[in-house]
Structures are given as C-alpha cells and as structure tokens.
C-alpha cells in the first residue's frame, strides 16, 4: 500500500471516530462550537503524530525482542533477544509515555509558545486520556512492527498524522452540523448529547461509502 493510500485510508475509510469509534468523548464534548473544535483538532493532530513517533521508539528499543533492544545490548551476553520480550507491557508503557509526553509538551508550550498554549487551552491535558491516541499507538505496532525499522517508523508517523487529520475533519463537520441543530426543534429528550450521537451514527453511515476505496 502506497503512502498516499495509507493516508487516505486512515483519514476517510478507517477514520478513528466514525469507523473505529475511538476518541468519542472529545468528539462529542468539544464539537459544540467551531473554533473550539478546530483547536481540539489541531491539538490532536500534533499529539497523535508525536505520540506515534515516541511510542514507536519505546516499543522498538525497550519492549520488542530485537537486537536493537537496549536491555539486550546491556545485559544480553549469553542470552537471545527473545529473553527480552517485554511486549506484554506495551499498553501500560504506552499510556505512561503518552501522558508524560503530553505533560511535557504542555509545559514546553506554556513556556516557549504561550500563544499556541492559550489557544489549545484545556484540550491539551484532555488529550492525555484520549483513547484515540492510545489506539493509534497500538494500531501502529500491530500494522507496522514487522516492517524494516525505517519503513515502519515512517509509516507509523504518517498513520499518526492521518489519524489526527481524520479526527479534525469529522470534528469540523460535526461542529457545523451542531451549530445548525441549535436552530432545530429537537425533541427535549434528545437535545444535546443524544442528538450528537445520532448525528455521529448517521455520519458513520455516510462515510461507509468510502469502504473498499483502498484495497
């Protein structure tokens, strides 16, 4: 699969929100107004790409049973790389790495780029616990860990970037729809979050049209 197709696939076909149903809390939570939605979308693109790169490094150098594993290099005398297979720790390691990364990024931005920090606001810390970010990290390992290191790293970052772009796209569309829904006479029982979920479901139905676009 070429890089362009990989990107299209993760943005439109295997969209994190509409096809994998990940990251629904920020999707519903901040799709009320367009400027906020855009801010959240940009923050997710940034964090997903960064998290993909960092978790790739953590997996490749700390967890995976390869010759590049740091523990194997230090303590590997008389042992095989298979003795240093820590992949069962990947979920908890990734959560820790992502949370730490987001906090670091937040502190860095607060100090160095206050304007961007202000515009991202509350959304940056919120992403710490965004399942789409953990999802993309785990998916990268599942999809690309068998490729050569350079290839796998490049595809990992591309998939992280594409996941964020897809998230921004549906968040943007959703925010416009919800602004329009403010003027609709939605039944009281469905106002707010319920109608947002119904919108998400119908959007997911519409996005099914892209199925099979990338073989």
């Amino acid at each position: 699969m070429s890089y362009a197709l990989l990107f299209i696939s993760i943005v439109l076909i295997n969209n994190f929100v509409l096809a994998k149903f990940l990251g629904l809390c920020p999707f519903i939570g901040v799709s009320r107004r367009r400027p906020e939605a855009m801010g959240m979308g940009y923050a997710v693109i940034f964090v997903m790409a960064m998290a993909s790169a960092v978790t790739w490094a953590a997996y490749f150098y700390l967890l995976a049973p390869t010759k590049a594993n740091v523990f194997y290099r230090i303590m590997g005398e008389g042992r095989t790389p298979a003795d240093f297979d820590f992949t069962y720790l990947q979920t908890i390691v990734f959560i820790l790495v992502i949370a730490t990364l987001v906090q670091l990024v937040e502190m860095f931005l607060m100090k160095m780029v206050p304007a961007l920090y202000k515009s991202l606001g509350i959304y940056l810390p919120l992403i710490t616990t965004n399942c789409a970010v953990l999802g993309v990290a785990l998916l990268n390992i599942k999809d690309f860990s068998r490729l050569s290191p350079a290839e796998s790293f490049f595809r990992t970052v591309l998939q992280g970037l594409g996941g964020g772009v897809g998230f921004l796209l549906v968040l943007f569309l959703m925010s416009g729809i919800r602004e329009r829904l403010d003027r609709a006479e939605v039944p009281p029982a469905l106002k707010g979050v319920p109608i947002a979920f119904i919108c998400a479901a119908l959007m997911a139905l519409a996005f099914m049209g892209f199925l099979g676009l990338v073989k």
Binding site: L205, A206, G209
Partner: protein, 350 residues
C-alpha cells in the same frame, strides 16, 4: 422555553411575495412525479415491486403518525412528506427485498433521520437515503444479489412464459469490465429501463417525465441535477484506471481515443445506469437537505458527482449515489456559509 410565533405572522427580510405553494402541494406533486417510475417498476419487476413500495409508504406514514402523536405535535401525515420518503426509500431497494426490511427502513427513515432532528425541515440527512444506508449496513444479506431479476418476457411480447431472468446490473459491469458494457446492454435499454436494478431507478425515461413535471412546476431547479450528472459523465472519462496487466490507462493516451464514440457512449451509460437519474432529480434536490442558493446547489451537485465517480471507478460498491448524497448532506452547512448572499454594497470578508 420555545417561543411560538403565531402561524400567520411571517418573520423574515422583505420583499414578501406570497406564493400558492404549500408543503402539501409540493409533496403531492413529487408523489405524482414518481408515478410513472412506479408504474414502470411494476411492469419491469412484477407485482412484488409494487408490494414493496406500498409497504414502505404505509409504514413511513404510520411511523410519522405514531411519532407525531407521541411528541404531542400536530399530525401532518396528509401533507405527503412521509409518503414521499417511503416511496423514495422503496425505489432504492432491490425488487426482491423482504417486506419487513422495507418496513424497518421506513421506520428508521422517519423516526431517526427525520423526527429525532425535530421533523420536517429540520433534518440534516435525506431521510430516505439514511434509511437505505441503514438497511445496507444492517440487512446487507437481504440486499445482496449477484444477479438481479427482471421480467424480460413482458417486453419480448411472449406473456405465456412469464419467467424472470437474472442478470448482473449495469453498474456492476461498468465497474468490473467497463469495456464489455455494450455486450450486455444497449444504450436504448438503459434509457428505457429494461434493465435489472433497484425498484424505481431503472427507467431514466419514466423518471425524466416526472422530473420535467417538477421543473415546470418550479419545484426543483435544473442546476443541481445537471451539475451532478454532467460531473459524473465527465469524470468517468477523466479518471485513469489500472488495467489487468498493472499499467495505468487514461484519457491522455492516444489508444484511449481509438474509439471516441465508445468513450462517449460509456460515459452516457454511466449517466443512465444505477440510481443516478433518480438520485439527481428526486433525492439530491430535497429542499431540506440541499443548499439554499442556486450557486450552492450547483456546488452540491458537482460534489455529489465527484463522489459518485470516485466510488464507482475506485470504490468497493458498484453504485455510490446514496452515499454521495449523504456525504454532501454532511457539508451543506459549509456550502451555505460559503454562498451566503451579500448585501448590496457589501465587500467580501477577508
């Protein structure tokens, strides 16, 4: 608290010119415009197609009645809008579909895609197409037919042997082996509708008669459907395709134009096959879910056309009309924002 304006008070910018059109006159005109296609569907597929259509219409109207009673709003089943939804939904279904599937699709269309948003005029997505997409997601086995039936004997004039024959749909052939389309179907058959397909979509002729009626009555505008169909016809020529041997073929090669008549005829076959004519004239033009301005409607049509061409040429489905319109419904708000009319003397925003 919802502020209720008295119905007789019209709030809006002037000038106020009052027309004779009402919701019910428009909706019943659409029903009349769909009658030729309904009659043709019975001739093409037999009485069961009519049973599917009537089931869908009845269940749409019944759902509308039940929900409006539950919401304690005035019951408006006589305005024909639910009947139109049911008709259009049935027309997108294959003729052999089980009746309960058609009924459930209508329930979804009216209950979820229309009344969850507040009823007529409030929905974001076309209810009939949302129902169709729901059916293809939830009951795909009821829709899946490699070969579609058609009662060809009626046309051959031999009514003694009324056996159905089955064939692959034109859209499926156009996707798998576009060069062979005219070995299976003649262009004239595609226009008349003597082809397999969904209940109401096969006859471009019957649909165009209805569409002409609606255009004369100024209920639909020509820009949207024309932009839609032209975009599809043009893009199926322009899109490069990968041949079986892995090479990429396209319009820039001399060999592509070796038979220019065939290229044009194939593009015309794309325009006439599948649900394109029905989708362009009757579904994309839905007043609620299409853009307000004429310019916006043309953009909407062109966008639908691009999506149909992409799905038909590269996608996983042989047909993309339903999804293309649903996807463009999703961005109608953006089109409306872009094509907002300016006040006299107003300059473009930065």
């Amino acid at each position: 608290m919802i502020q209720q304006f008295p119905k007789t008070l019209i709030v809006g910018p002037g000038p106020h010119i009052s027309g004779a059109d009402s919701t019910s006159s428009i909706m019943w005109s659409v029903v009349i415009a769909l009658v030729p296609a309904f009659i043709f569907s019975m001739a093409n597929f037999g009485w069961y197609a009519g049973a599917v259509t009537i089931t869908a219409v009845v269940s749409a109207v019944a759902t509308e009645w039940a929900i409006q009673r539950m919401r304690k709003v005035s019951v408006t089943i006589t305005d024909g809008s639910a009947a139109v939804t049911g008709l259009l939904l049935a027309f997108t279904l294959p003729p052999g579909v089980p009746l309960y599937v058609a009924a459930l699709g209508s329930v979804f269309s009216i209950a979820v895609a229309k009344h969850a948003f507040g009823g007529l005029g409030m929905n974001i997505w076309n209810p009939a197409l949302a129902g169709r997409a729901f059916i293809s997601a939830a009951y795909s086995s009821a829709l899946f037919m490699p070969k579609w039936p058609v009662l060809s004997s009626i046309f051959s004039g031999d009514i003694r042997t009324l056996d159905a024959v089955t064939m692959a749909t034109p859209c499926a052939i156009l996707q798998s082996d576009p060069a062979a389309i005219f070995q299976h179907y003649r262009l004239w058959d595609l226009f008349i509708g003597r082809i397999p397909g969904s209940i109401g979509e096969t006859s471009a002729l019957a649909l165009l008669i209805g569409a002409a009626f609606l255009m004369v009555r100024k209920i639909i505008d020509w820009r949207l459907p024309v932009a839609y169909i032209l975009t599809v016809a043009l893009l199926v020529i322009l899109f490069p395709v990968r041949a079986a041997d892995g090479t990429i073929a396209g319009f820039w090669q001399a060999s592509f134009w070796a038979d220019p008549v065939f290229v044009l005829e194939r593009s015309l076959a794309h325009a006439l096959s599948g649900g394109l004519v029905m989708g362009a004239f009757f579904m994309a033009t839905d007043m609620v879910t299409s853009p307000i301005t004429k310019k916006g409607q043309a953009m909407f049509g062109a966008g639908c056309g691009v999506l149909v061409a992409v799905i038909r040429v590269y996608g996983g489905y042989p047909e993309g009309v339903c999804y293309s319109i649903l996807l463009m419904n999703t961005v109608v708000w953006a089109i409306d924002n872009m094509t907002k009319p300016k006040f006299f003397g107003e300059r473009a925003h930065a």
